[in-house]
């Protein structure tokens, strides 16, 4: 293999030596134009939100790049009437609770799916996979009526139950993928050394797939944090999440104030950007559940 690679390298360098011509200059020029357009495409909305969050009400209606920045907006969104503080807390609570419940369940199910074959196991696995294609609006219709009956409207518990429907299938499949790639011999060796079944799980298997578990947890949290429809319908008063509060900025006294929208947007966006940076290597594989790695 290394030989083959070397020979390719040689041919490539030959081609390069031959072709220091206008073609390469055009190619390099095109490449950099492409890079600039791509950077603009990815970053302009994020950059503009960040910039606008530092502007005053009047400045937000201009395209100025240079202005006296202010952090006032970040104070205003935490004050009355927008009060993002409790909403931030609700979002954190819902996200963390959902992940804390979903991940252990997903770990157990993923282990069973990965290590055992039994009648119907494939069918069951596919069923778990397809549950995440059920549109949220289908899930919320019945639960809205059920929650009204049992008093779970406008509660954290209600939101956690609904978010489990999103997080659990993802997490199970993701963790299963990581256990699949762990050779069973590792577990068998421990068995020979006299460890018992549970000991193997907690001291060998799960620690070894911990990166995958963390990725699943982070993804689960991001999904809960960004979730809007459930929160809009179930948590519209006391348990407003950040997303619902964000939507509510549009109904402020002066209509939609862009500088406040942007400041709230930063609050919504920045933690998630940091989290996704932490798991960047697993981002694509995680989202497509191992279809593409």
């Amino acid at each position: 293999m290394s030989l083959a690679l070397k020979s390719v390298d040689k041919t490539e360098s030959k081609v390069k030596v031959k072709g220091i011509k206008s073609n390469d200059v055009v190619g390099a020029f095109g490449y950099w134009i492409g890079i600039i357009i791509t950077l603009g495409f990815i970053l302009i909305p994020i950059f503009w939100i960040g910039l606008t969050s530092l502007k005053t009400y009047q400045q937000s209606y201009t395209l100025d790049l240079f202005f006296g920045p202010t952090l006032d907006n970040f104070k205003i969104i935490f004050d009355d009437p927008l009060t993002m503080g409790p909403k931030l807390l609700n979002s954190l609570t819902v996200g963390i609770l959902t992940v804390v419940i979903a991940i252990p369940l997903a770990m157990m199910a993923a282990y069973a799916f990965s290590r055992f074959r039994f009648r119907g196991s494939n069918l069951l696995m596919v069923w778990v996979l397809t549950t995440q294609f059920i549109p949220p609006v289908v899930i919320i219709l019945p639960f809205f009526n059920l929650f009204r009956a049992v008093g779970l409207i406008d509660t954290i518990q209600g939101l956690v139950i609904l978010d489990l429907a999103i997080v659990l299938p993802y997490a199970t499949w993701m963790i299963k993928g990581y256990i699949d790639s762990l050779p069973i011999e590792v577990e068998e060796a421990a068995l020979v050394d006299g460890a018992n079944d549970l000991g193997i799980l907690y001291r060998i298997t799960f620690p070894l797939v911990m990166p995958g578990i963390i990725v699943a947890a982070v993804f689960g949290f991001i999904a809960c944090w960004n979730e809007f429809l459930f929160a809009l319908i179930i948590g519209s008063r006391n348990t407003q999440t950040l997303q619902v509060g964000f939507y509510g900025v549009a109904s402020g006294p002066r209509g939609l104030q862009w500088e406040l929208m942007s400041a709230t947007g930063m609050l919504v966006m920045v933690p998630i950007l940091i989290l996704s940076l932490l798991i960047r290597k697993h981002f694509v594989g995680g989202l497509t559940m191992g279809a593409v790695k």
């Binding site: 083959a4 690679l5 390719v8 490449y31 492409g34 890079i35 950077l39 990815i42 970053l43 909305p45 503009w48 939100i49 937000s60 209606y61 201009t62 997903a106 157990m108 199910a109 069973a112 290590r115 055992f116 596919v126 778990v128 397809t130 294609f133 059920i134 549109p135 609006v137 289908v138 899930i139 219709l141 019945p142 639960f143 659990l168 299938p169 079944d197 799980l201 991001i222 944090w225 960004n226 809007f228 964000f246 939507y247 549009a250 939609l256 929208m261 942007s262 947007g265 919504v268 966006m269 998630i272 950007l273 996704s276 960047r280 497509t288 559940m289 191992g290 279809a291 593409v292 790695k293």
Partner: protein, 290 residues
């Protein structure tokens, strides 16, 4: 694990939660879809109406409109996401510092919440002070009379673009991964046979990318059909009802008109359609694993 029942003990909590949170609502919606239930008139479902809720849809112009809107949105956002995604992937596929930085930045747009995507694009497309509006009209002056979100076509296009902003980078990353697995020997051999860049792309790269293109296509289509949040924060379904996607329509019927029976019937129709796509996706996914 040697215990005979261990696997079932390990599986049952997750299975039970999923039954309760996904299968139960589906069955519930199926039952309600056969009944009359106007929440404004009654707290409980009333009489059984057979398939009336389903047949009602086909005489409802809101329904046919939302199908057209969803179809157009799906076509636009899928083709834009895959096209731009492929272009970015081809641009940054080689290993270099700049490309690594770009590849890291590519994960950002997808992580941004859909509500924010909607608001930020609405802001940037405003025809008085929007950044994108200004940029586009500077580069292309004939567009200066367009008020993006007041025009039926451009509102739809903008909605699709805001969705593409999140998805194209993600799809680019999927493609970059697949491009990395194409052996340099293959492209080298093709070059020796006299292939130029264009024929190399169409006869070597594209066929080799086919599996990942299919997966991206299905995944993006499924998510396009589920799209909801940006409609709320960006266009509100307007102008008129030109961006009322199917999901948004179900939401309107269920939670604005409070017609639970009809909304359930619509939801079941969406599920049937999505199941077909999900079936194809699963077949692709598992076919690859075996």
């Amino acid at each position: 694990m040697r215990g005979k029942y261990a696997k079932f003990i390990m599986l049952s909590p997750a299975i039970l939660v999923l039954l309760a949170t996904t299968t139960y609502p589906l069955l519930y919606a199926l039952v309600i879809s056969l009944r009359n239930w106007q929440l404004t008139k009654s707290q409980e479902p009333t009489d059984w109406v057979g398939l009336d809720n389903y047949t009602q849809a086909f005489t409802d112009s809101g329904f046919t409109n939302s199908l057209q809107v969803t179809f157009l949105f799906t076509i636009l956002s899928v083709s834009l996401s895959l096209g731009i995604g492929l272009a970015i992937a081809l641009l940054v596929q080689k290993k270099s510092l700049v490309n690594t930085i770009i590849k890291t930045l590519l994960i950002f747009p997808f992580a941004v919440s859909p509500t924010l995507k909607g608001f930020s694009w609405k802001f940037m497309l405003n025809s008085e002070y929007g950044l994108y509006d200004h940029l586009v009209k500077t580069v292309f002056p004939p567009a200066r009379d367009i008020i993006w979100l007041n025009d039926t076509f451009w509102a739809m296009f903008s909605l699709a673009m805001s969705e593409t902003w999140g998805w194209a980078p993600l799809i680019a990353l999927m493609f970059v991964g697949a491009l990395g697995t194409i052996s340099p020997e293959i492209t080298e051999a093709a070059r020796l046979d006299g292939a130029n860049n264009v024929s190399l792309f169409f006869y070597v790269t594209l066929p080799l990318l086919r599996p990942v293109i299919l997966i991206a296509l299905l995944l993006k289509t499924i998510f396009s059909l589920k799209m909801f949040d940006q409609v709320v924060t960006m266009t509100g379904g307007g102008p008129g009802r030109s961006t009322q996607t199917f999901n948004y329509f179900i939401y309107q019927v269920g939670f604005r008109n409070l017609d639970m029976g009809y909304a359930s019937a619509l939801a079941i129709m969406l599920v049937i359609f999505l199941s077909i796509l999900a079936y194809l996706y699963v077949k692709l996914l598992l076919g690859k694993q075996v």
